[in-house]
Symmetry: C2
Subunit: 258 residues, 2 copies
């Protein structure tokens, strides 16, 4: 089946390349990656905060596990801004020594790899690592587009629509790094976390998932999600799959050739 959740098929560098690579051809910079990323991943348990709101950013790659960018109101209400999946980067910023605008919370046991050497190289010799810089910039653009999708969900969609939309987004983002296929993917989150992502109460999150099951659109089992009718789900969610890149056709072609 397409339920490919490889134990550890990709090296750190391969994971990053797969995640950032497609539209931009990596060459001289692969070496840099391998050099900087050969070190072992660092682990932390679920619930750990790695990087707090207001603290200096530290660039990291998520090697395995899920995290969330989160902020909490005085009275405890919590909002997750973005779910962070294997292959996602945290703390990359064009501003030197920037401060985190949200807390990063491990939602499952997490393995991360320091990207400091990579960003340092980028800072020291931007010319030489232009492709890398472009890849990171592209990634930032994708992240921003993701935030806008999320705003659309929270501002204008119903609980059912939001949930369908998020499931499709997660499917596509996971597929991009080889985790899961068109219908199956890992979903190791509690309903409380999903609720905090989608701006719902836990109770209503539960009932919304039930509704999706009742409609024969979704199956959940042991941290795995199965989309039984992705097309219908996309209809409900008004979901558009992510563009291949945020580059225009012209420059995209130019990059492929360059």
């Amino acid at each position: 089946m397409a339920l490919s959740q490889p134990t550890r098929p990709l090296s750190h560098g391969d994971l990053l390349a797969r995640r950032l690579g497609p539209p931009v051809p990596f060459g001289p910079f692969e070496a840099l990656l391998l050099e900087g990323l050969a070190r072992p991943a660092r682990s932390c348990p679920a619930g750990d905060e790695i990087g707090e709101h207001g603290a200096p950013l530290r660039p990291r790659l998520i090697r395995s596990g899920w995290a969330g960018a989160v902020r909490t109101l005085q009275d405890g209400r919590r909002q997750i801004f973005r779910l962070l999946l294997p292959g996602d980067c945290i703390g990359i910023s064009a501003t030197p020594a920037a401060l985190a605008v949200s807390t990063t919370l491990a939602l499952t046991p997490l393995e991360t790899v320091e990207l400091e050497p990579v960003t340092a190289a980028l800072r020291d010799d931007p010319e030489r690592h232009a492709a890398l810089a472009t890849a990171f910039a592209l990634e930032a653009a994708r992240a921003e587009a993701g935030l806008l999708d999320h705003l659309m969900r929270l501002g204008r969609q119903t609980a059912l629509e939001r949930t369908a939309h998020l499931l499709l987004e997660l499917r596509d983002r996971l597929a991009a790094v080889g985790l899961g296929g068109v219908t199956h993917f890992p979903l190791p989150l509690t309903q409380e976390v999903l609720a905090d992502t989608l701006g719902l109460s836990t109770v209503h999150m539960n009932r919304t998932l039930q509704e999706l099951r009742r409609l024969r659109l979704l199956r959940l089992d042991k941290g795995q999600a199965e989309l039984l009718d992705p097309a219908r789900l996309a209809g409900i969610a008004d979901y558009a799959p992510p563009r291949v890149s945020t580059l225009g056709p012209a420059s995209s072609a130019a990059l492929r050739e360059g």
Copy 2:
């Protein structure tokens, strides 16, 4: 009074400098600004779309008037992601030839200035315009922080809280370019636009504004807003004024000295 809404006191360059400048000392790059921005502003009426979702980005400065970054669902539900005020920039991106992830809609009559020459200069000789690059990067970070604030509003705050929070944000952003003071500022938006920003129905937006008036927190008159008790409003909204910058203290100091 602090109700300073100058007719046209600032040059294009001064407006930009005031908006981007504070933490980063502008020097050699002012010249560039003035060179590139001497040209007259271009006007368009309210309702015009300048830059559509999916079209190539074009860098612009809002000289006067308000715009919104917006996206619409198939069925017409609309979400405004970010209100764009005088001094705000549109279409700045680290990726060359990026595509817009949202449509920019003029909410009032609008005057804009092309920033193409500025971004071109940045692209051609990044070394020489490092301060400018930093300023734009900082600005991008601020914009992202603003998106997270907005997500918090839409995901976890009530109509009253959202409205209070947005009003305070607008006050501070306007004050940063000399429009309005601690209690007064221009607010040339219809309730429908506010509703589409805050993820509410027009009717409920109306009632929420009434509630704020009833609580003696807000007065609206002729496109001007008056906050009658900013502190209490901040309490309701759980509002934290924006940090001076997103730079850490160390690098912030370094920049001031450099």
